[in-house]
């Protein structure tokens, strides 16, 4: 379980880094999105990997999942979602203003 989670985070982060380094703005947006998924999973894992437990103190159950990372992930998801939307709008405006989706706003290498 831990290995699977760590592997998923690694693949997401690696793919995201590769895409974020590409020169097209849409690839960059996708890359940032994948990286934020990786980060969200990482925060989730910071509360230890616990399966089948409620994130609440329950006298009957023999343990609980840490609720705080879940709250943090929720905040991070909301912020990341808003940022991605803003980044997409900016990328579209830059594409309109420059006539190209190159992140330098110019096709020619400077």
């Amino acid at each position: 379980m831990e290995l699977l989670l760590a592997g998923a985070i690694a693949v997401l982060l690696g793919t995201g880094t590769y895409l974020a380094l590409r020169p097209r703005s849409f690839d960059v947006v996708l890359g940032i999105t994948l990286m934020s998924y990786a980060v969200n999973l990482f925060i989730f894992a910071a509360g230890r990997v616990v399966a089948g437990r409620a994130p609440i103190v329950d006298g009957a159950a023999d343990g609980l999942a840490d609720p705080l990372p879940q709250a943090l992930v929720l905040t991070a998801i909301v912020i990341g979602f808003a940022m991605t939307a803003l980044l997409l709008v900016l990328a579209l405006r830059a594409r309109q203003a420059c006539g190209t989706d190159h992140v330098d706003g110019d096709e020619e290498p400077q």
């Binding site: 974020a20 703005s25 934020s36 705080l68 943090l72 940022m83 980044l87 706003g105």
Partner: protein, 536 residues
Amino acid sequence: MNHAPVLPIVIPALAAALMLLDRRVAVQRALAWGSLLLLVLAAGWLLAATSHGWRGIYLVGNWAAPWGVVLVADRLSALMVAVTTLLAGLALAASRTGWDTRGQHFHPLLQIQLMGLNGAFLTGDLFNLFVFFEVLLIASYGLLVHGDGRERMVAGLRFVTLNLLGSSLFLVAAAILYGVTGTLNLADLSLRLASGDVAASALARAGAWLLLVVFCLKAAILPLSAWLPGTYGAASAPVLVLFAVMTKVGLYAILRVFTLSFGNESGPLAGAAFPWIAAFGAASFAAATTCALAGVDLRRLTSMLVIASAGLLLIGIGLATPATVAAALYYLVHTTFSAAAMFLVVDLVSRTRGSALDRLDATASARQPALVGGLFLVAAAAMAGLPPFGGFIGKAMLLQATLPASGAGAGSAGWIWAAVFAGSLFGLLALSRAGSTLFWKSEGDFAAADAGSGATHGNLRATEAGSPAEPLQARDWAPVVVVLGLVAAVSVGAAPLQRYVQAAAEDLLQPAALIDATLRTRPMPGPHTPAPETRR
């Protein structure tokens, strides 16, 4: 409970919400000035209260400290809130020239940025610090592209991408620290790290270094400073006034987190980062002032000097003695105001030279060379740190504090003196060269420059600069005079300000009292308050 610590966050949040109800600029301006007045009162209250050593611990959800989010107002927080409030007033005054009508939502965005800045200065919780960073960044994205145009969109795209990467790193660091210690409260973090075993402290160290990288990115320290000139080169003048404090947020975060959470009380991690902080600061100061020599226009030159000032502040923070930190805090106040003055002067230069804008060539002289040149002279002297301005006093305080005789930082004085003197000389040279090119060597008038180079340089900022035939009016140059007055006040009022920052620096380097006050504050009793809990 004293509600003063929460006011600087609540006032701009409410003002921004009210502004969205009525989009007329006149109404928004009135609300903005009203909000500013209340903020000045709140900041004054905080300054007056903290100057006697009071620490405002505010339990936001009425939960005791390690469980709920807590706001902490001490001397440093109050000082930063006061500086931000004054800059906000200057940005509002500078936007009176019509900037706030060149696009929508200038005033609400400004208020939200103020809320984020004040929140970042007042919070005592690591994740809450992240949230307030995001609040101020979201507003700054909007303000950066305010006015529209190709240059701003490309700069905005890069700035947002870079800060999203920075935010991801911040989250990873916060998650690591939470995973290791089980707390996000900055004060509690310090105690947990002190009692943690060595196996945990390797991971904790990784978290600490990641946080340092994130804060250095925000503060534009040398390897992570390449974003700043392009971003600041595209923003409009009133926005730049407020951006003068943006890099200081990163420096504040370094100072707060690395003195409180990873400070003297936190066992194996205590002070581990400080030598690196000082070395990167010195390298950043020397390199950025050298780059300023190669500046092609006044705006980029000023941006490089802003990076340089952040580097100088980092030297003071990294040496981590009360005297050096006090020198850094004094210099911080001075350099924030003088950078704002310089950015406003750059705007005046751009507007009076036709399409030559602020390029450093002699093709056009300013329309009102005496007025613009005089303001440039004073602002440049302040920026370069010449006496009688505060920059000189701040650097002298820093150099004096590194003398072997003072006991602190012995052995490191040599390379710090070399970096500070070389950097200051280069900064002075860059500014003198810019001034003599712009105001002495320039031959053609602005009309000739328009005829000669108007076609190639007829870009966005040239059209925004307006017709150079219109002479500058009082409302154009009055904000510069006001901010230069503030710079002079920092210099004239050096003694009381120095006493204040000295006390603030001593508080920072002795975090035990703050940790104790944070964790001992009990919730207000109420009908739904749970019974007082004992600590874990």
